[in-house]
Subunit: 369 residues, 2 copies
Amino acid sequence: MKSYPITKSRRVRSTPFTSRIEKQGVTAYTVYNHMLLPAAFGSIEDSCEHLKKDVQVWDVAAERQVEIFGEDAANLVQLMTCRDLSKSKIGRCYYCPIIDDNGNLVNDPVILKLAENRWWISIADSDVIFFAKGLAAGNNFKVEIFEPNVDIIAIQGPKSFALMEKVFGKKIIELKFFGFDYFDFKGTKHLIARSGWSKQGGFEIYIENTESGLDLYDYFFEIGKEFNLKPGCPNLIERIESGLLSYGNDFDNNDNPFQCGFEKYVNLDSEVTFLGKEKLKKIKKEGIKRKLMGVHLETDKISLTKSLKITDNEGNLMGELRSACYSPHFKEVIGIAMINEPYCKSSVKGKLKIDGNSVSVKVCDLPFI
Amino acid sequence: MKSYPITKSRRVRSTPFTSRIEKQGVTAYTVYNHMLLPAAFGSIEDSCEHLKKDVQVWDVAAERQVEIFGEDAANLVQLMTCRDLSKSKIGRCYYCPIIDDNGNLVNDPVILKLAENRWWISIADSDVIFFAKGLAAGNNFKVEIFEPNVDIIAIQGPKSFALMEKVFGKKIIELKFFGFDYFDFKGTKHLIARSGWSKQGGFEIYIENTESGLDLYDYFFEIGKEFNLKPGCPNLIERIESGLLSYGNDFDNNDNPFQCGFEKYVNLDSEVTFLGKEKLKKIKKEGIKRKLMGVHLETDKISLTKSLKITDNEGNLMGELRSACYSPHFKEVIGIAMINEPYCKSSVKGKLKIDGNSVSVKVCDLPFI
């Protein structure tokens, strides 16, 4: 498939690390939150294997923060998500579907509670800042809403723990999953969370002091050889195998949280007020008509650039394939698809067309691994 | 400068015309509203010259629509913009800065009034849909807000009138600037506006019937030879020369409309209620401290990938260059820069560094031509 260069501009923002990853061999970009997000360093198969075995540093500055600060901050944050945050704690991260008035998804960020009146919404690819600003203005909330100067680098992979311990000491290993705290690097404090967009373990460093962050980035590569540290990026194969969903790819503002398997983050019986609550109750009562499922495809290659229709053997529409990759682990193509009733159950078979060829599809549960 | 391929996916949406423009020789993309926007068909200098002389068809489906429909539609639309729409007419387009609670810009769309209770916001690159949804929910407005299935193709250039007359007949030539109406193509009605993101004249076709739109696209190229019709895209050189500003490049949510030269669209003395009105009154009273200006650079090449600092000859910060290109017309590089007081007036001189070389800068008024 022919590839096309991306035209850079101020609108498609570079990150503080862009010049570094270009020296280190980034080979493709995507755009995420109006910013460059590295999409490959050579073969994504090789990169996936390395991520599962060793450790990588990722420039994921494109995971932008929306800071909500002020008297009504907690109210506004709660209004935006169907997850009950009434018992949330300072120093913890929460995966929170953001929901609109129709009960549909706006984003699926990780929300960090920095203080009772100060939160960071670490967003997937949509402008949550304007949703927050609209809601705050409409409700006369006393809050300030802005994008702080924060650029994330992620340290991912099984050896991330050893690497991080070498830099930040033993204390960082004690950080619990989805906990965060401040850690010192050469006299500068950095907010570090045990989190990241892979299932291989790791950390995300929320860099506010850019200069120190660049220093830290370079320092990782100075001392990282013993861990076989390499630059990397969110890996399509690893994230599909692990069932990590992607806003815009697997679901969007036309889908609701029940269709996406987010039931455990939808707290309809709670006391808290959030947008779309009544709508979600109605959706739950009536039941959903389609659901995100895994699919196995009987083929050994795919380069999915948009969704593809899946049909049953009589040609009836079963759903659409939204993400896919060749998985070296499964030795076939796997994908994530929105599958309609009555097809959305494990082992149902169908087909789709790739470059004019018919390929067999088998539905399965998520996650794959 | 090394170029990097863009990784396509469902999240970075293709348009109905993507496969066509790829056959026709598109050579670079950017991403705009989570969608592919062609950025070049070979040399942008050649393309600029052609656009000024003949006629081009552009795939600008990335100019997405936000439809506001229902009882409170007009109130919501007015709440979002500082332009007084109380005397707006059905069948007209309005260039409207969208303003947040702080008086800063959220977007600078063209708004189409389809009916008293039905509007399309034809957006620049930010998710206005979530701003509208937040405001509507917060204000309990009775509206439906969604992205309709509309993909725009633009017909731009001096020969666009002859081309469009050949397809749609004499009536289309009578359409006034920023007027729109419905025109028939082989039995399908298409909304067509006399508008577009160039100063070379032309039309934008808002395609709701995708099949007919694809037919129409192909038909243009079937009959377009006599007008020397070519595929094209918004042209960096033409738009800078003409002073057409770009949200995300020249200004963003950190800038207010007075800083961007939008005074004529800020109706502070009107009776209408809009967000940020009091804040804008305050900003106007206090005066602005920086302003978008043109700049001439004493160099014959640039490839701007992010903003660059401009300093005076003593090294004091004058502002930042946000967009730039080599203009064959001026035979030097021209650009758009946010210039601080007291430097933001014509003929002030400064300098900036490009690839380690110092280049002289001269401030001028916008537009260039």
